[in-house]
């Protein structure tokens, strides 16, 4: 049973008392075992003066040596929530629960998951169990809700072209938040909604975002009063080192090609028309 895929909708849970308050936070999703990008980000982010750093889940998968990414997150001040990958690993499930339905997407997802499951220590699996599904805080006068896929389902894909305004409004209404942040798709996007509401896909630092460049992306959110500013920032890192390690671990050449070229070669069938059109394959 894939228990983590059950609904985790937040209707009626307007728990905003006693949440932490910040003015400037750094967010990223999808480490995908890219500990080199993660380490580079954590080493260089102090100059951004973020009061808190959040990882929105899916720490393992795709890349090499998953334990290294867990250790970085466990040993730093990053607050992490659970993605579908993290939940699957912590429960020892036989698949990542990414939510793919196409056999080609599932083929590569399974290679990635089997490797990650085999190479994740018991201690790190136990840590993954402790991660929350949702995180709330205030950013100045705005209430911010963090989740992995969507507030109602950990593995829901919220692409820009597949997420209607009224659905995002409903998520925000149900949770009592002004800002909803999520990841899971691998592509960053931001939309300001009516009523000073905001939806932010914070992107991923694990692999490039299908735009032909090798850098990855993270997000900086800043607020003054009720004014929100959202910055997407590129992260350049030593991807050739990552490629060397992926080769040493016999990870699929298709994955390595993506890290090298910036074009996705897998997980393509889940992508809607508009996003797919912007890629190469």
């Amino acid at each position: 049973m894939v228990e983590h895929l059950q609904s985790n909708r937040t209707r009626g849970q307007k728990k905003w008392e006693d949440v932490p308050v910040y003015n400037r936070v750094l967010l990223f999703g999808g480490v995908y075992s890219n500990y080199i990008a993660l380490a580079h980000l954590l080493k260089n982010c102090s100059k951004m003066n973020a009061e808190a750093i959040f990882c929105l889940g899916d720490i393992g998968g795709f890349g090499p040596h998953p334990n290294k990414s867990y250790e970085y997150l466990r040993n730093t001040r990053v607050t992490t929530l659970a993605g579908n990958y993290d939940l699957s690993l912590s429960q020892g499930l036989d698949n990542c629960g990414c939510g793919y339905t196409d056999p080609r997407d599932n083929h590569f997802a399974q290679i990635s998951y089997d490797y990650t499951l085999q190479n994740t220590s018991r201690s790190n699996k136990d840590w993954l169990i402790t991660l929350p599904s949702l995180i709330r805080f205030r950013l100045a006068d705005l209430k911010v809700l963090l989740c992995h896929g969507s507030p109602r389902r950990t593995n829901e894909f919220l692409w820009d072209s597949s997420s209607p305004d009224h659905l995002l409004h409903r998520f925000l209404e149900d949770s009592g938040a002004d800002v909803l942040c999520f990841t899971h798709t691998g592509l960053k996007w931001y939309r300001q909604l009516e009523g000073n509401r905001h939806a932010v896909n914070v992107g991923v630092i694990g692999r490039p975002e299908n735009d032909g460049t090798s850098n990855v992306w993270f997000t900086l959110l800043e607020a003054t009063g009720k004014d929100l500013q959202c910055f997407f920032l590129p992260l350049n890192y030593d991807y050739s080192r990552l490629i060397d390690e992926m080769k040493q671990e016999d990870l699929p050449p298709e994955f390595i090609e993506t890290i090298q070229t910036g074009w996705w070669t897998t997980c393509l069938e889940i992508m809607p028309f508009k996003e797919r059109l912007r890629g190469r394959f």
Partner: protein, 292 residues
């Protein structure tokens, strides 16, 4: 017979997907495997009134529905279809399930304009049933193979990245004559048309409608639902609106038992019976009628 067995139910989670049976059971083809026996003279489910479609769209928006799928029959038979589509895409990501026969140059141009004018994705799914012409035409009708591929190419050339939807009817009719990897055959076929990024969806067949019901039907038992994630079943997150009311499943719109609620979407949001052999196919294959 299903009278003496215990019927399990699928929990209802949230209405994420609304299907709209816009052209009822009216189709310009009579495919030999159609699960609801659509045909030019099948009026079992009538063409939907435009105002009724718009009413369901308004309710779907209020309920926070994520996406709309137009199906039939053949959606392009509806006289106001393109206008309805344009309105829909202003508020929803939208998909069309079509046999492609009515997508001429003019309609392809209009679809392109409509897709470009929306922030949301328009997915066009064109049906084919074999990578060999004679086999396809024996299922879908003489001449359809070439027309379907022409329509697919027309859409591809306009950058609409259509999805080719194929059923496993070849495996059903000729299990010993099926390739190990049918998918590659379709990639090869589309490649011959110059399609570099083929999007292909393979769908199991349902032994109902035009196909004979199985000699030994299998049904979902309550025990099978123990520990099963109900959200993997389409009826936990989708409904289908027709001229005659709201049904729990796009496969079961010919089934009075699948009619649910009071013809409103909000009245249909309840658990539903997993009583049909089609439910077993959904359960066993993990299939979704959605694109992905």
């Amino acid at each position: 017979m299903i009278s003496n067995r215990e019927i399990p139910k699928a929990d209802f989670h949230d209405l994420e997907t609304l299907w709209i049976q816009i052209s009822g059971t009216l189709c310009n083809l009579s495919c030999t495997h159609c699960f609801i026996s659509c045909a030019p003279d099948n009026h079992a489910l009538p063409m939907m009134q435009t105002e009724k479609v718009l009413g369901y769209l308004r309710e779907a928006e209020e309920l926070g529905v994520k996406e709309i799928y137009f199906t039939g029959g053949e959606p392009f038979l509806h006289k106001n279809f393109l206008e309805i589509l344009e309105v829909t895409l202003q508020n929803f990501p939208t998909s069309i399930l079509t046999n492609g026969l009515l997508i001429n140059e003019n309609r392809a141009d209009k679809l392109t304009r409509i897709a470009q004018n929306s922030h949301y994705s328009l997915e066009i799914r064109v049906s084919l049933d074999d990578y060999e012409e004679t086999r396809n035409d024996s299922v879908r009708g003489l001449g359809t193979y070439r027309k379907v591929l022409s329509a697919y190419k027309r859409l591809w050339e306009r950058g609409l990245l259509p999805i080719l939807a194929v059923t496993e009817i070849r495996e059903y009719y000729s299990p010993d004559d099926s390739p190990l990897d049918a998918f590659e055959k379709y990639v090869e076929l589309l490649g011959s048309l110059g399609v570099l990024r083929p999007r292909i969806k393979i769908i199991p067949i349902f032994e109902m409608g035009m196909l004979p019901t199985p000699d030994s039907p299998t049904y979902i038992t309550p025990q099978m639902m123990t520990g099963f994630d109900h959200s993997l079943l389409q009826c936990s997150t989708s409904r289908i609106a027709t001229e005659d009311g709201v049904y729990s499943c796009p496969i079961l719109v010919n089934e009075e038992r699948a009619l649910i609620g009071d013809s409103t979407l909000s009245g249909s949001l309840a658990s539903c019976d997993l009583y049909h052999t089609a439910c077993t196919t959904c359960y066993a294959t993990g299939m979704t009628c959605k694109n992905y």
